[in-house]
């Protein structure tokens, strides 16, 4: 059974207050015991309060620690996200940069840097298959510019670039070498096939007309082609193609010469 403390306290206080018990030794002892008891209670109270406030401090500290931890986690997550985004955009920029550094902006064909890169790649691995290189120059291109303006000159370059690229197709790579010069790398096993392909390219360009309002621009190309030979270097190969092109130019253009 539980003790009813309120009732017990009241009983004791009544006994202590009763005048008839005043001088009884038991009453004196009870009074002393009551005082000690009261003191113990107030001590207990203080202890409880102290303990509670310590607990409060600990809770607060724990809370601020966990708040700081949460904040750092949030910052870290965000930093990672932002960094990743920067990395993605850098990667994207690199891709764009590489593209612009290897593609001719006007014709969108591989530029001289890229075609040289391809040529050295093919050169390193050409032992098995054939390799031939053709240098193409648009005939009298300066006249097109002078007569119709640079805008038309650019249009002709773009149109011829597309036409020649479609002829070369999967047989090789064509790039803009500079100005009105183009370079073709072909890996046909048979040189005759390479020559035939370039001959058909020449005749298609010759048949092509570019219409500007009521005027027609007629063009043709001169081609110097050469096949890889033992002990060739990239330079010797290119210079043979170049000399072949020069020989065509001096003999009247719109034709092909093998160097």
């Amino acid at each position: 059974m539980k003790t009813d403390f309120a009732e017990l306290e009241k009983n004791i206080q009544d006994i202590l207050a009763a005048p008839e018990y005043q001088d009884h030794p038991a009453s004196k002892a009870l009074s002393q015991l009551w005082e000690v008891n009261q003191e113990q209670w107030s001590r207990m109270d203080r202890l409880t309060r102290l303990s509670d406030s310590y607990q409060d401090v600990m809770i607060q500290q724990g809370k601020s620690l966990s708040e700081r931890f949460d904040k750092h986690v949030r910052q870290l997550e965000k930093m990672t996200r932002i960094s990743d985004r920067y990395q993605r955009s850098l990667r994207q920029l690199n891709i764009e940069l590489e593209k612009t550094s290897l593609v001719d902006p006007l014709t969108e064909l591989p530029n001289r840097r890229m075609i040289m890169k391809r040529l050295s790649q093919v050169f390193d691995g050409q032992q098995e298959e054939g390799l031939s290189v053709a240098m193409i120059d648009i005939d009298y291109f300066k006249k097109v510019n002078d007569e119709f303006g640079h805008q038309v000159g650019d249009e002709v370059l773009i149109a011829l670039g597309r036409l020649m690229e479609s002829v070369v197709g999967d047989h090789g790579v064509i790039g803009r070498w500079g100005g009105e010069e183009f370079l073709v790398i072909l890996t046909n096993p048979k040189f005759e096939d390479a020559v035939a392909l370039l001959e058909s390219l020449r005749s298609k360009v010759s048949a092509y007309t570019h219409q500007i309002d009521d005027k027609t621009v007629l063009t043709s190309v001169s081609i110097g082609i050469t096949e890889y030979q033992d002990k060739d270097t990239v330079d010797s190969l290119l210079s043979r193609a170049d000399s072949a092109l020069y020989s065509v130019k001096s003999k009247g253009r719109n034709s092909l010469a093998v160097g």
């Binding site: 904040k71 910052q75 930093m79 996200r81 932002i82 985004r85 920067y86 955009s89």
Partner: protein
């Protein structure tokens, strides 16, 4: 003089603090070797301004690329501003970007996300 000037380099932006108008300008890329050291005076300037003045504080930012430690510095600064804003201070960020470079706007959005104070991302 309470104005602040940190000269820009190829890898760090020019930082200019105008005490009188309560404006901090940052312009350029930010990938210095030690962001915490470099931006220490800037963070201190902002803290001091928020403590000593009651006028609004505005950050005018034209930042393109930030390395990770610079991102951390900016986030700490924005967090500090957010805290002051919650206490009733007027603070604002204007982040400018070149309209041809949308990526910068997306990045600024990431920073803006946790800020409830006025944070404008302005194309120009």
């Amino acid at each position: 003089m309470n104005d602040l000037l940190i000269e820009g380099t190829a890898s760090s932006p020019t930082v200019r603090g105008e005490w009188k108008s309560g404006t901090l300008y940052m312009e350029g890329d930010s990938y210095p070797e030690n962001s915490y050291e470099l931006y220490g005076p800037m963070v201190a300037w902002v803290e001091r301004y928020l403590k000593e003045r009651s006028e609004p504080l505005t950050l005018e930012l034209t930042l393109l690329y930030l390395n990770t430690s610079s991102i951390k510095v900016m986030m700490d600064m924005f967090d500090e501003m957010e805290e002051r804003f919650q206490e009733g201070r007027q603070v604002a960020v204007n982040w400018y970007f070149d309209e041809e470079n949308e990526r910068v706007a997306e990045l600024a959005e990431e920073f803006k996300e946790d800020c409830t104070f006025p944070f404008k991302i302005i194309g120009k």
